[in-house]
Subunit: 326 residues, 2 copies
DNA sequence: CTAGGTGCAAATAATTTGCAGAGGC
DNA sequence: GCCTCTGCAAATTATTTGCACCTAG
């Protein structure tokens, strides 16, 4: 609950003055957890600061949206809702048409697909909206669901980022193990075995971190999924999976590994970068970095291998200096 | 352009009367291709039928939405748009914020993911909205894009349904061919070879149909993709792909085939069923049916195999009548 | 002192509603 | 003739604007 407020002076548009009214609107707004309509916020502000006009609230919200502090969401009921953007990843909504509550989710797969679709249509995306309307569990069963505050959202996001990293790692471990089992060539097999060992080690690290995160809040694990993922976890190795044959030699094994690690690194880097500063973002970027280290190792190994291959068979210019590329 | 109108008498809510005014609103509405706002429609109707009130248009649209003839879409600019639902598959939108045009797309993958997400949250979906906002190609490059009318949409949908079926078939052919190459057991291999041959044959049929469709309109092939798919085409065989090993015998091969064909059948049947009557829907349902035929064949073969396996080793009750299950 | 911020009230803009009259069954 | 539909105008709702006044820099 003790979230740091963003640096407001930096966010303030050029040539604007500070104002106690605006500050109090902002203060009340940032205290809100869910979505507020402009009018809701007006009432809330009025309750503690008398003499504030409705127009000020509207104007402040416009300013906040422009500054990226607030996000405007449209649930289609004719009134705009606003939510604090700070430390909230950009997300999608499930909207209950009966109780008008809304819960949030994220799906890296949906995001990737939408990106691809926009690219295919030569469309420059500025924003993607995904909303699922229907009846929520609470309304259907009558069972109440505990509300989530901002700090919880943050932790759930971190939890899911870790889960995604772990699933990817596991998928990698699985892939390399399978690859090692299938590969007849001893050098190719040994490459895959080494990769599997590395993935296994990193998997352990991630799992420890996951347990540590859960230790902070025992209820965390049972909270509903916020970030859905499939493609990243399993899809990143699907391409490599298709290239597996018995006759994979060390060079091919390295190339397969390079392709997988590069895909994984790129994906997590790009994905992590979309978020505001948060634990979850950290998880993604660190994971991406880890994959980059693997990738570098593989690349070095691949280059060394090519070198070794070229030397014993000096077919062309045998005088070429070793260790120099192109 | 010669689209059949839906049976309006059937759609009319109980206890409602026919009315020339309403009919003329409806008639003008159904003639529209893109999205109209209530006010746009009001103007359009006024132009040819004098003395129609704005309220009537609003009321008629409400009624049409309730009857499923129209769909209401919210582009977030404060005014609702309406589009004819008839012979238009439920779709998603790309909205250009500069020229306020909108184009449509569909993604079986996004749809599946959203379904899964809703299910994970125990949420009963009534509607899913996906909107990508940004700048369209036309606005960025100045190059005009030819508009698409309803008949074209219908054909593009059919085209993409066929493409999806073809891609799936190709993916199946690829998978079974790979499986046959990898399988050492001669009986297992022969199963996969037979499956590959069947997929190849069906692929030919689909491709012929695709060519026939294109023959009707040479420009059809170059139109932008409407239906995006990945998972169905490649994902359906991913599971089976993982189970491939050298030592797959005939029984296991059959089981893998059964799993793949069943997944494919189910997916296409369910997906086809979501659409209004159209050529595209036909393609999906026929494809599903074809997969079901394959599935049945495999199942019969599997049962026969089990039978054969049980007979030569009469471990328990050897007196059991053959050809009787359970 | 002055540019911007503010409250209030009035303006807008999309849509709905009340009501008296018209029209289908 | 009854019951629903219709047009018009007035009402409602969410949001913006005009304007005289206020306040921070």
């Amino acid at each position: 609950m003790d979230r740091q407020l963003p640096d407001l002076s930096a966010l303030r548009p050029a040539g604007s003055k500070r104002s106690s009214k605006r500050d109090s609107v902002l203060e009340v707004f940032l205290r809100q957890e869910g979505h507020v309509s402009a009018d809701d916020l007006f009432d809330l502000v009025r309750r503690e600061t008398a003499g504030i006009g409705r127009a000020t609230v509207y104007r402040t919200l416009q300013w906040l949206v422009g500054a990226g502090v607030a996000r405007k969401v449209d649930f289609g009921d004719g009134r705009a809702r606003f939510e604090p953007a700070y430390r909230h990843p950009r997300h999608f909504h499930l909207i209950c048409t009966r109780c008008h509550s809304s819960s949030e989710f994220l799906s890296s797969d949906v995001e990737s697909l939408l990106e691809e679709i926009a690219a295919a249509r030569q469309f420059t995306t500025t924003q993607a909206t995904v909303q699922i309307s229907g009846i929520c569990e609470q309304c259907r069963t009558g069972r109440p669901t505990p509300p989530v505050d901002g700090a919880t959202t943050e932790m759930v996001f971190a939890r899911d980022a870790l889960r995604m990293a772990i699933a990817t790692e596991r998928s990698g471990l699985d892939f390399y193990t399978r690859a090692a089992g299938l590969t007849k060539d001893p050098r190719g097999r040994s490459i895959f075995q080494k990769l599997a060992a590395e993935e296994g080690e990193h998997l352990g690290t991630l799992e420890t971190r996951y347990r540590e995160l859960l230790a902070g809040d025992p209820a965390l694990e049972s909270r509903p999924t916020f970030l859905f993922f499939k493609g990243a976890a399993s899809g990143l190795f699907a391409e490599g999976s298709k290239q597996l044959r018995q006759g994979v030699n060390d060079q091919e094994a390295l190339l397969i590994g390079i392709k997988c690690e590069r895909g994984s690194h790129k994906f997590f880097k790009k994905y992590g970068e979309r978020f505001e500063d948060s634990e979850g973002k950290q998880v993604f970027l660190e994971f991406a970095e880890e994959e980059r280290v693997h990738l570098d190792l593989l690349m070095r190994e691949y280059r060394a291998l090519r070198q070794r291959q070229t030397k014993p068979s000096p077919r062309g210019r045998a005088a070429r200096r070793p260790r120099t590329r192109s």
